[in-house]
């Protein structure tokens, strides 16, 4: 059941482009939250943490992503590529988590992010890709699990 097809590869590559740079930036953040490089990557060039809550939230997201999102992505993708049905379950779980934090960030950070990065960046790599990828894997994995795909 659920042999991976071209869509699985597209989602995998899209997922790597979307998630791995974020995880890399979060790793830099966790090494030294006050470094210029970490702040440039996470909040934008030349910007500073608004306050300690802002910094703590970014660190908390970083830890949660590294401890949960990254393993789900690696293990889920490996399982999907090997045709294991539970790989799709992990992808759906990760997809829902991505959609969940996309909604959170839409309410929490949209105004600031758009102000500093513009709508194009926001609707693509800064925020949008996470939502699109999440929705994509949920739909694809559900169809695969239901044995309905093509």
């Amino acid at each position: 059941m659920g042999e991976p097809n071209l869509f699985a590869w597209i989602l995998l590559v899209f997922g790597m482009i979307t998630l791995l740079p974020l995880i890399a930036a979060q790793t830099v953040l966790l090494r030294d939250p006050e470094s210029r490089r970490a702040k440039d990557l996470i909040i934008g060039k030349g910007r500073e943490w608004t306050n300690s809550t802002h910094r703590k939230s970014a660190i908390a997201f970083a830890w949660s992503d590294i401890l949960l999102v990254l393993p789900l992505f690696i293990i889920g993708s490996t399982a999907v590529l090997s045709g294991a049905s539970w790989g799709y379950l992990l992808w759906i779980a990760l997809g829902f988590i991505c959609v969940y934090f996309s909604i959170t960030f839409w309410v929490m950070e949209r105004a600031n992010s758009v102000k500093y990065h513009g709508w194009f960046a926001y609707l693509t790599y800064y925020w949008g890709f996470f939502l699109y990828w999440g929705v994509g894997v949920i739909i694809y994995s559900f169809l695969q699990l239901s044995n309905m795909i093509f």
Binding site: T50, N51, T53, H54, K56, S57, I59, A60, F61, A62, W63, S64, L67, L68, V69, S85, L89, I92, A93, L94, F96, I97, V99, Y100, F101, I103, T104, F105, W106, V107, M108, E109, F142, L145, S146
Partner: protein, 161 residues
């Protein structure tokens, strides 16, 4: 040869018992989680009253810092009502009807309910971790147990999905 029907009966009875226990665990976890969604729904309805009751930590009528906390919490509350709440309802309905979509929805609710307490834990480390501990006890641990319980009866749902 003579023992086969009896063994089958015992096996079926054990299987049914296992399904009942697993579903009981899943429903308990989902019920605890639902308390969280009720709390968030009330907060969206009347934020300042929820703040006074201690359901939220940030207020829009306080300092800039408190307002920032309130904005973050409101984002989480909105996300909870848009995604996990409908999923939780779907999980309840589907699990009652022994449908695959109910099993899947419950698993997804549980995965989200592990993510956000983990976030709270790291956010509150070194300061006030009561909220984080509350979220872990109320949602993360029941969710983990719920995942194990539902995974143990996955064959039942995949078979009839």
């Amino acid at each position: 040869m003579f023992g086969t029907p009896a063994n089958e009966m015992i096996k079926n009875r054990n299987q049914n018992q296992k399904i009942k226990v697993s579903l009981g665990i899943a429903f308990t976890a989902l019920s605890l989680i639902s308390l969280g969604w009720i709390m968030q729904a009330y907060s969206i309805f009347d934020w300042e009253s929820a703040f006074e009751l201690g359901l939220q930590q940030g207020t829009f009528e306080g300092s800039e810092l408190e307002s920032l906390i309130a904005r973050k919490e409101k984002g989480e509350a909105m996300a909870d009502l848009i995604l996990p709440l409908p999923l939780t309802i779907l999980a309840f309905v589907g699990l009652v009807g022994r449908k695959f979509y109910g099993w899947l929805a419950a698993m997804m609710v549980f995965s989200i309910c592990i993510y956000f307490p983990l976030f709270y834990l790291f956010q509150q480390l070194g300061s006030d971790i009561q909220v984080a501990l509350f979220a872990i006890v109320m949602w993360a641990i029941p969710s983990m147990i719920g995942i194990v319980a539902l995974w143990s009866i996955r064959n039942h749902y995949f078979q009839y999905g």
